[in-house]
Amino acid sequence: MSLLEIQDVTHTYATGSGRPVLHDVNLSTGEGEIVALVGESGCGKTTLGRLIAGLHEPSSGRISFDGTDIAGLRGNRRRQWRRKVQMVHQDPYGSLNPGLTIGSTLAPGILQHKLATWRTVQPEMIKLLQQVGLDATPAFLQRYPHQLSGGQRQRVSIARAISLQPSLIVADEVTSMLDVSMRVAILDLLLSFQRDRGIGYVFISHDFGVVRYFAQGGRIAVMFFGYIVEEGPVEELITSPRHPYTHMLLQAIPVPDPVLVRKRDEEGRDPERMIGEPATSGCVFANRCPLVQDVCRKQAPALTEIGTGHRSACHFSDEVPPLVHLTDDAA
């Protein structure tokens, strides 16, 4: 049974333009599973993450956790669920209250959920800091966020998230604001919790490299303007995408290898299709799709199963070309 089940979720921000930010999104993840959300800026990744974490209620559709609709949860059961789903934010500078010490940032949640008492909360916090690889001393608890480096802060954020012993963490671009040199360490830390405690992740990123590293064995869902257009196992989706948008994304990724760069550039790209508004009728991707046909303008393709655990929303998913530089240069 899946831990999280998102069914037909549509969401429109009351303060926004009025256009839905998410359309009939369906997604599920099992216990300890990693699902990565990728897509261009503004496609609704964060929104979906926030819905999962319960920071917003979906305009329609159903999000269930452990089999129960979270919208209907009240009282104690709501508190239980609250504890189970946590989030780590993108910005290590913004996600810690600058006016609170590390101790006072960590303690309230632990106390609120009775995971420790006033007496035991300090050792508990020190244990947490140890687990996220920080200098675990009482003095550290007295420090303010501004006294920490970005990497340290992100570790504190992670400590806060795991302090409630969640089973699912939404990680929204957790490394994008960090220095290159620190990214892997943070990813490794998160992965260690998956390994050791079976924590599942909804991992939001637009960096396929990071996704491929982090979500090994998990799945990727590719979003385009509020729609999930393709979903499948990481390796399969990256090496043989079955949606032209996924293909476009993968092809756009800069590669740190001048030789491969030259090789890939030979495939050629159409810059005009890389940006632009979604279509309003038919397939959303139609305006930008290199494979577009008349049918695409008329009929929106459903997200259909095209392989085990691999779904794509394209009428021509079979015609998506292979990715030269990713597939055949392994040798």
Partner: protein, 341 residues
């Protein structure tokens, strides 16, 4: 141009022993220290390094626009042989924009929010009447540039900054920088805040512009993948110092490589593989105010020796001009094959 100008393409822009400090007295920070570079005409030159290592500061000093309290405390910058450090304000203004153009980090704030893009373009044209005698030509050229950066000219002309998305602003900023047909464009982190597709677009556009306009590009980034995509030459900075510079091939493939650069390359998970070789770099970039003695990278360096902790390594080059500042590497040049496992 009133200053003496040489047409030495090999040395379009020369930085010699440049030091830039913020503040003076004991609390001062040298964001750029004894850096020398030379950018030849037609190159795409990348400045790479982690956050805070002085890349932007170096870029600013090329145009003599280091923000106060920063100031150039040593060294010179020469453009076509003429020292910009000693130029008058007037000469500088003539140079800025027309010969040396810059796109700031986070182009989000590069436009006056209360003037239309068109007005601001007109301002630039008026400030440099020598480039386009008839401002109309200038406008037309700008339209052409907007076409090149994949933007609708009419709409952009009338827009305010707030009406453009991040990716659009970045491209408009590039177009504006190219308006006066400068010989050099400096771009500070042109792709950092953008998503994959916009980043790709900008990279492609830059390549395109480089090819079609023959402009020399200097760009700042901390993303080695972008360097690999774009650059012809690379300079890597660490904590205010130049640690390695060379052609892009030398940096990515060479046998003699600074341990920092190597660690950096190894620290990036790549879409090319499932990340088996990825290794994080331990420690953090030192605070410029409390630098360690000796090599600045030594505390984080897996190959550091006693010497590294004591004296700063000199920047030594081979005959291709591939420079590395590392005691270890310079002593025992050994081939380290970097490729996929």
């Amino acid at each position: 141009m009133s200053s003496p100008v040489t047409n030495d393409d090999q040395h379009l822009l020369e930085v010699d022993d440049l030091t830039v400090a913020f503040g003076d007295g004991p609390g001062s920070v040298r964001a750029v220290e004894n850096v020398s570079l030379s950018v030849g005409a037609g190159e795409i030159y990348a400045l790479v390094g982690e956050s805070g290592c002085g890349k932007s500061t170096l870029a600013y000093s090329l145009l003599q626009i280091v923000p106060p309290p920063g100031q150039i405390t040593g060294g010179t910058v020469r453009f076509r042989g003429a020292s910009t450090t000693t130029m008058s304000k007037r000469e500088l203004n003539a140079l800025r924009g027309a010969e040396l153009a810059m796109v700031f980090q986070g182009a989000m704030n590069a436009f006056n929010p209360v003037l239309t893009i068109g007005t601001q373009v007109d301002h630039i044209l008026q400030a440099h009447p020598e480039v386009f005698a008839d401002p109309k030509d200038g406008r037309d050229y700008f339209r052409h540039l907007l076409d090149l950066v994949q933007l609708p000219a009419d709409r952009i002309w009338k827009s305010y900054e707030s009406q453009l998305s991040g990716g659009m602003k970045q491209r408009v900023a590039i177009a504006v920088a190219l308006l006066l047909r400068p010989s050099v464009v400096i771009l500070d982190e042109p792709t950092t805040a953008l998503d994959v597709l916009n980043q790709r677009l900008v990279i492609d556009i830059l390549k395109d512009l480089h090819r079609t306009l023959g402009v020399t590009i200097i760009f700042v980034t901390h993303d080695l993948a972008v360097v690999a995509e774009l650059a012809t030459r690379v300079a890597v900075m660490y904590a205010g110092r130049l640690v390695e510079s060379g052609t892009v091939e030398e940096i990515f493939k060479a046998g003699r490589r600074h341990p920092y650069v190597e660690a950096l390359i190894n620290a990036i998970p790549s879409v090319l593989d499932a990340g088996l070789r990825v290794r994080p770099i331990g420690g953090a970039v030192p605070n410029l105010a409390e630098l360690p003695g000796g090599c600045r990278f030594a505390p984080r360096c897996a190959r550091a020796e006693d010497l590294c902790h004591e004296t700063e390594p000199p920047l030594l080059g081979d005959d291709h001009g591939h420079l590395v500042a590392c005691h270890v590497v310079n002593r025992r040049p050994e081939l380290v094959e970097v490729s996929k496992a």
